[in-house]
Amino acid sequence: MLELKALTKLYRGAPGVRNVSLQLSPGEILGYIGPNGSGKSTTIKMLTGLIDPTSGQILFRGQDVTKDFAGFKRRVGYIPEEPHLYTHLSGLEYLTLVGRLRGLEARLLARKADAFLSLLDLYESRFSAMTSYSKGMRQRILIAAALLADPEVIILDEPFSGLDVNAAMLFRRLLMELARGGRMVLFSSHVLEVVEKLCSQVVILYRGDVVAQDSIAGLRALLALPSLVEVFAQLTRQQDQDVRAREIVEVMAAR
């Protein structure tokens, strides 16, 4: 089990996230949602060691991960929000780089990289520098890189960004398959319809605070709202979007 206990990050005194606590069990896909700037990426960056928490704990199987963060990260596959890649490398070179950094043996790595590239329709472009890749292709490379070393925990920050319909469908099924196989999936996204279909539990974040944490059915019942979108709008105090849309059109038409 992966557990976050009162995780807090302060940026020059201002809170990025405050007292985030959650649990992620094997076989579970946990939706982690919130409006822009609510602290989703900050939490994920703390989980992946890209930034240090100001306070709080991350426990993996009951052990504080800070004692062996590298050991924890060996069990984690991560897909970042932005497709930051070394674009001067080819897709194959990038997967080889990641595989080696994860300590995979050469022959196994070559076999896995080839297989991932074929399955994700990247095999034809495997020798091309990633500068020529589309956003979707880069996203698929990130997916392959995250899954290369068979992680137990998969952390996804907007994983569907740039994927076409087929690739998104494949990836959705893949996530369900991974969960069925006992992996823990933390899924952060703005696409609430997908979250609703995939996740058993959701955590809703607003301005750095957890404002709801329950199963989707539980939240809908609690707030007497028909969909996750409406639950989300209510909890994150979204303004009347119709009014705002009209205001934008007015500004646009100003002479």
């Binding site: 070394y86 001067h88 080696r100 950094l101 050469a106 034809e124 020529s132």
Partner: protein, 570 residues
């Protein structure tokens, strides 16, 4: 002016402003998102370099004008004029090399600007205007001051020609010469653009940019020995092969020289200038009509690369994590344009120094024939040391230039204490192979020819020197190259240069002299081995202290630094 600059103007003017400012956003030196005010720096450097020429020759003309005969005055004036043209060509060449990627509208320009309500003519018009403005400023900075000052500084009792004529002739000569250099650069790139497929163009163009840079750097040390008196007095036909000499001929012709030799050179200048203009314009026109196809043609490679040096070289490291770092390092060095350009710039200085040494040996009369073989032996022994010094210093500098900085998350994410020492060792091994072994291999044949069997001892000692220098230069290195943001330098530039000069003197010149005596006698050999072993042990110990205990240094991605030239807003 300020109000005018703040207003929105016609598309061509706005594009001119955009392209003009882009010429100072040097991706070779600054971060990709930073906007350095290179404008002032470039012009200041060019003016200073141009002003250096008249200042340098002032004392000499005082003495020459005091001579009882005017022949030497006129000879010196001719030689200095040609020398000025050569220096100016080199300066303009350097500017051209650094602006090489900006001479034509690029694929990025097409992708960004074409969706906007702009015509292709406007994009090309803006580009041409910006280039014209930029090069006009550079040309003025290089030529004006020295062309006006030199005839004044050299004036003396043997001068009969009016000042205005001499200044006008020099202005025509120098300006035509540097304009020719710019047009020739545009024409050269334009021809490549017109002839080569896009997938070849980028690599070829970059190789030519590097080749020109090396040519300029290697030509610079020859300048103090050129032009020789014999070349001018003997009316050498070699001068006909040198474009700046054509414009020197033009200058001489305006001053009244009338002979076939000068006439021939001047004629070349008169043909070359319009021809280069015509060729540059034609290739620009071709590029204009083929722009969309050129910009959108995919340069991607679909085949497995025939040569994969990163794969081969990374095999020196057994651990996969170390091999990852090693191959990443080599691939980035091979493909990073900024990294390669800076590397060749610094390594080129080393090459220039070696050429300067060789020229000194060949041309200087300081060595008598009996002493020359000894000097050649020293020069050959210092060859791999000098070259390795510059390549290693260049590599260390280049390692600090980040590549796709936000992508370093993959190294940060997968960093571990267990693998850190192996990764740091892989960095050092790659550093030594590229910076030390390659120069040593390059100079081995020359050493074998000069020293015969003793070359083996010399090469062995040089290898130990290279290993020691490698350990010394990487003593505090605790990062994966290309993955961290450049912090402000800890030392001033002058301080760094002085330190490097001392290091170079000790390593290359003192080292070569010591090796020379060590390959002939036992006592210096033992003393050398003991000394180097002690230094090596010290450096290795210092380098591996706390080895891998501290995490790698990954500075947070810095916020883009925007420094305005105040051409947009106050």
């Amino acid at each position: 002016m300020k109000t005018w600059l703040e207003q929105t103007h016609t598309p061509v003017l706005e594009l001119t402003r955009h392209f003009f400012l882009g010429l100072f956003r040097s991706e070779s030196f600054a971060g990709e998102d930073s906007f350095s005010p290179l404008f002032v720096q470039i012009l200041g450097l060019l003016i200073a370099a141009s002003w250096y020429i008249p200042v340098q020759v002032f004392g000499r003309y005082v003495r020459i004008n005091a001579l009882p005969d005017g022949y030497l005055y006129h000879l010196a004036y001719s030689m200095d004029t040609l020398w000025m043209l050569l220096v100016m060509s080199i300066l303009m060449g350097l500017v051209g090399v650094f602006q090489w990627p900006s001479l034509f509208p690029s694929q990025r320009d097409h992708l960004v600007l074409s969706p906007l309500p702009l015509t292709r003519a406007q994009i090309f018009g803006g580009k041409i205007c910006a280039l014209f403005l930029f090069f006009a400023m550079c040309i003025a900075a290089i030529t004006l001051l020295s062309s006006i000052a030199f005839p004044m500084v050299s004036y003396g009792r043997w001068e009969t020609r009016p000042y205005l004529l001499r200044a006008a002739a020099l202005l025509v000569g120098t300006n035509s010469c540097v304009v020719f250099m710019v047009l020739a650069a545009i024409a050269l790139q334009g021809v490549m653009l017109a002839v080569l497929p896009v997938r070849w163009f980028r690599a070829t163009s970059f190789s030519i940019q590097i080749a020109i840079l090396l040519l300029i750097l290697c030509a610079a040390p020859v300048l103090p020995y050129f032009p020789t008196r014999e070349l001018i007095e003997g009316r050498s036909h070699w001068l006909a092969l040198l474009p700046p000499a054509w414009f020197w001929g033009l200058n001489e012709e305006i001053l009244g020289a009338s002979n076939d030799f000068i006439g021939g050179l001047a004629l070349r200048a008169k043909v070359a200038l319009p021809a280069s203009f015509l060729l540059a314009s034609t290739t620009y026109l071709i590029s204009y009509f083929r722009y969309t196809r050129q910009a959108m043609e995919s340069p991607s490679q679909q085949r497995r690369p025939v040569l994969a040096p990163a794969e081969w070289l990374s095999r020196v490291s057994p651990a996969p994590q170390a091999r990852a770092v090693s191959s990443f390092l080599i691939n980035t060095l091979l493909r990073g344009r900024r990294q390669k350009l800076i590397f060749f710039l610094i390594a080129g200085v080393g090459l220039a120094l070696i050429i300067e040494n060789s020229m000194y040996l060949v041309l200087s009369d300081i060595y008598r024939p009996r002493e020359l073989p000894g000097a050649v032996r020293s020069a050959v022994l210092s060859l791999p040391l000098t070259l390795s010094f510059f390549t290693m210093v260049a590599l260390r500098r280049v390692f600090r230039i980040p590549a796709d900085l936000p992508a370093n998350w993959v190294f940060r994410f997968l960093e571990s204490r267990a693998t850190r020492p192996a990764q740091l060792n892989a960095i050092l091994a790659t550093f030594l192979i590229l910076g030390g072994l390659v120069p040593l291999a390059f100079s081995t044949p020359v050493e074998c020819v000069v020293f015969g069997a003793k070359a083996l001892v010399a090469i062995g000692l040089q290898a130990v020197f290279i290993l020691t220098l490698g350990q010394y230069l990487m003593i505090d290195w605790r990062s994966i190259p290309f993955t961290f943001a450049e912090s402000a330098p800890s030392r001033q530039l002058v301080h760094s240069l002085t330190l490097h000069l001392v290091e170079l003197a000790l390593y290359s010149f003192v080292g070569a002299a010591w090796i020379e005596s060590a390959i002939n006698k036992w006592i210096p050999l033992v003393a050398l081995l003991v000394t180097v072993a002690l230094i090596l042990a010290f450096c290795t110990r210092r380098r591996t202290e706390e080895w891998g205990n501290e995490p790698f240094d990954f500075a947070e991605t810095p916020a883009p630094l925007i420094e305005s030239l105040r051409l947009f807003h106050s």
